[in-house]
Symmetry: C2
Subunit: 318 residues, 2 copies
């Protein structure tokens, strides 16, 4: 037996947003039906940054994402977030592949949000507003573009150059730089910032809007005014992770929002245990924290494709 | 920057028990002095086996061992236990190396036991008794051979062929197949079995003996009669891990032994916070569960050696 080694370049050549959306939707289903396993993340917190071990298994696949977050990396020319997945055969434990997971993380995050929009946004959604035009925002547009007929995309970021780069990257779409307030006046809004103070005001959001709250993925992070949560239908990817580190974590801690007010998980909506959007006027919010099973589902996809295509580096490793 | 990929063969060519002993002893020191970090292991439990994520950091090194345990692998020609370490730069998170960790695990376990013997066994120890002659026992002999003048080594295993293979592997030593009772009549005893029922009877152990209890590394595993713990000086590698999964886990659960009866950690003994052997007649026991920081210390050693030697596979991975 041998282990595949897939670099960033290899993984990028094998990633395709349509396939990722399918794989991630299936992972959410498996999770809701009790066919997936996902123990709590283990955090290694050091002086200059932290590391997270994210183990997970879905039917036929197991593995672990090991991801580092080092906020001071930029001047060194290194990404803030770097990730590796060890992908194993669940039946024997054999490490079938080791792969860069930086792009996998971005793709599965975009896919999860677009899947949430598919079930929670209005069917006639045609405008997409993206707040924060960094690395994780690109896959928001790619994934939503796959599932929706996007006629207008609005982007806001405090850094004008970042917005410009973003717009140039999508020549096939009608993307426009807007103010924050204009941007969130959209059918679907994705907030993708590292904010620790809520910036999205409740009064700006029209009835019928769906919001994907992507940014908050650690204790203390928060993008939306808590009053917005109160009047919305809130769906999470995982209740335990959302309460600990997602968009709802600060309001829950401050007793401005209760865990019991969460409507359900995305998996429950996908498998029909909970209904998706019922009311054209409702505001819906998807609180995305990022699940290990999303990563493992995409790792399986990449491994299987690489195996089938052949020509990738493979070694007798273990 | 690039990532080193070190296969089982590469790692084996770089492993040296004397260096491993030094690195592991330093890791225990760092742990006792609060200079190391080691969050709880994360367990992914599946039908055919389980996986453990073991993150850890020592000064200048960070990483994670991802280890699988699949008891039914033998008929498939695969090892029961397979492990990979992702070794990172703690300052940036960059994955400096990905390496097979199967041999690293065996070497660091042997080293930890020999270090415990160095501080807890009588200085005039010349006989070593090894119970269980499987994979993990080889490094017990190698590491003790490094630190002690071993004149006689006794081995017991229920499988005669396993004993024979073991003896043949050490032509430079005087190794003899013995009964269980004869084997544990030694200055230093290492128990290295997957037992779930205590087999080592208290009455067999002479005053002045030091025992390394290696086998128990999961809930329900136990090698020594609890009455032996009661009359011995018990030192653990880590109190939390030992109480949950080490030799003391079953007696603690059955209230036959209290966590408070543990004398101290090996790190405390090494740095002098606690004295080592004080009395020639005392029975001492080291309860080894295996620490992530031991793995990271050896990973650093291997990475640094490979880097210096050059010629190993290195890729622009992340």
């Amino acid at each position: 037996m041998s282990t595949l080694f897939l670099s960033k370049k290899d993984v990028r050549s094998l990633l395709n947003i349509a396939d990722v959306i399918k794989a991630v939707e299936q992972a959410f289903k498996d999770w809701a039906l009790g066919r997936a396993k996902m123990p709590s993340k283990a955090y290694l917190v050091l002086e200059q940054g932290d590391f997270r071990a994210m183990p997970g298994a879905i039917p036929g696949a197991a593995g672990m994402k090991w991801v580092s977050v080092h906020p001071q990396n930029q001047p060194l020319g290194l990404p803030t977030v770097m990730a590796i997945i060890v992908y194993n055969d669940p039946a024997t434990g054999y490490p079938l592949a080791v792969m860069d997971a930086t792009d996998i993380t971005a793709y599965r995050t975009g896919a999860a949000a677009a899947i949430a929009s598919k079930y929670l946004a209005r069917k006639d959604s045609h405008t997409l507003g993206i707040v924060g035009a960094g690395r994780q925002s690109y896959t928001q547009l790619m994934a939503h573009g796959e599932l929706f007929d996007l006629r207008q995309i609005k982007v806001f970021d405090r850094r004008a150059a970042t917005v410009e780069t973003f717009i140039k990257s999508f020549p096939a779409y009608s993307v426009r730089a807007c103010s924050l307030e204009e941007t969130v006046d959209s059918d679907i809004v994705c907030t993708v910032t590292p904010a620790r103070e809520p910036f999205l005001r409740s009064e700006w959001i029209r009835p019928g809007t769906h919001i994907n709250a992507i940014g908050a993925d650690a204790e203390g992070k928060e993008e939306l005014e808590p009053s917005l949560l109160k009047k919305a239908v809130v769906v999470v990817d995982d209740l335990r992770q959302a309460a600990a580190a997602g968009e709802i974590n600060v309001p829950v801690r401050n007793r401005l929002f209760a865990v019991e007010e969460v409507y359900g998980t995305l998996g429950e909506v996908i498998v029909g245990k909970k209904l998706g959007r019922k009311d054209k006027q409702a505001i819906t919010i998807f609180d995305s924290t990022g699940l290990a099973i999303e990563d493992i589902a995409v790792a399986k996809l990449i491994h299987d494709k690489a195996k089938k295509a052949g020509g990738y580096l493979s070694l007798d490793f273990v």
